[in-house]
Symmetry: C2
Subunit: 200 residues, 2 copies
């Protein structure tokens, strides 16, 4: 029974740390998560953490990158199977809101992330989601479906729109009702982007 190669072992411990941290950050939050505690839970010590990620912030970045990769994958899947380009864009937005309902995502991506790492739009990761949306917008503007506005700026701003829609829903007593209201308001706003606005 030979040992696994070294690189594989390393990847494994990195994954163990990221998983344990993600769980801790997602539940008790970044500030309250004791490095001693969640490294121990992964069968390791802080030594491993510092070796691989530099510090607590570095580990948070890794966790965020992992989450963001998952979100990005889901979004592009939605875009691919949309009937029209505009509908695909709207679906993308709705999917984003749905994903942001996850308490773990809210805690790590929306609350602690910005506080610790600063403006999300600067993160290499978060940009992935936004880049998707920017690209879609560019095409929509090119084909004259959408007004001539700056696609990057619009994507960033819509990012905020959707995140706060998620917050609204997540904290509502009646989530179903809140979700309907939020989607309705959001689609109304999105209609404003259209070159030929639809009737209300």
């Amino acid at each position: 029974m030979a040992h696994k190669p070294r690189t594989e072992m390393i990847a494994e411990t990195r994954a163990k740390l990221v998983t344990a941290a993600r769980k801790a950050f997602g539940t008790v939050g970044y500030a309250e998560a004791s490095m001693d505690d969640f490294t121990a839970e992964a069968g390791l010590t802080r030594g491993a953490l510092y070796h691989h990620f530099g510090d607590k912030k570095g580990l948070l970045q890794a966790v965020i990158a992992e989450i963001d990769g998952e979100m990005s994958a889901r979004m592009s899947a939605v875009t691919r199977q949309a009937p029209s380009r505009w509908q695909g864009f709207v679906d993308e937005c709705v999917t984003y809101v749905e994903m942001a309902l996850d308490p773990e995502i809210q805690r790590i991506i929306l609350r602690d992330g910005p506080a610790v790492l600063g403006d999300p739009s600067q993160w290499s990761s978060q940009t992935a989601c936004i880049r998707n949306m920017t690209a879609t917008l560019e095409k929509l503007i090119e084909e004259r479906t959408v007004r001539t506005i700056d696609p990057r700026a619009t994507a960033h701003i819509l990012n905020g729109t959707m995140l706060y829609a998620s917050l609204l829903i997540a904290n509502a007593e009646d989530q179903r009702k809140a979700s309907q209201e939020a989607v309705r308001a959001m689609t109304a706003l999105l209609d404003g982007l259209l070159a030929k606005p639809e009737a209300a």
Copy 2:
């Protein structure tokens, strides 16, 4: 030279603490702000802080309440002197974006606040700004200027829209250009709320 009455002295020390904390939170951030440091800067100790505010979070709440009061005042001033109700609403939004450009506000209200205290829409204070906007929206819907959407949900969502517009501008290399792009995108979105959409 008689001493000042006691209640006045108390209000003064509270104000001193809030001011010192606001400065510290706004520059180095909540987590990095040492209570020993900024209380000393106010000529006090942590004892005073715990006595008046319970803990660090309590002080942050007080700081946020102060800032939010100022923001609320500015917003209602803008609303009062608007030519039309819809224009007043748009101005309100633009003002909000402008205020959120302040690094202190970004740091305290947008980054650290949510991380420490949770969803901003739950803060008694933040509600002030949102309530303003909700009220304006209600009237606009009543007079059929705006589509029939839920005003509270819309206000919350727009809150996010504007905050991220501010982030975008604040972090841009060319702030003037970014601000133009952001305002353009925002007004486009807002047009979507109108019952009779304006031509692009």
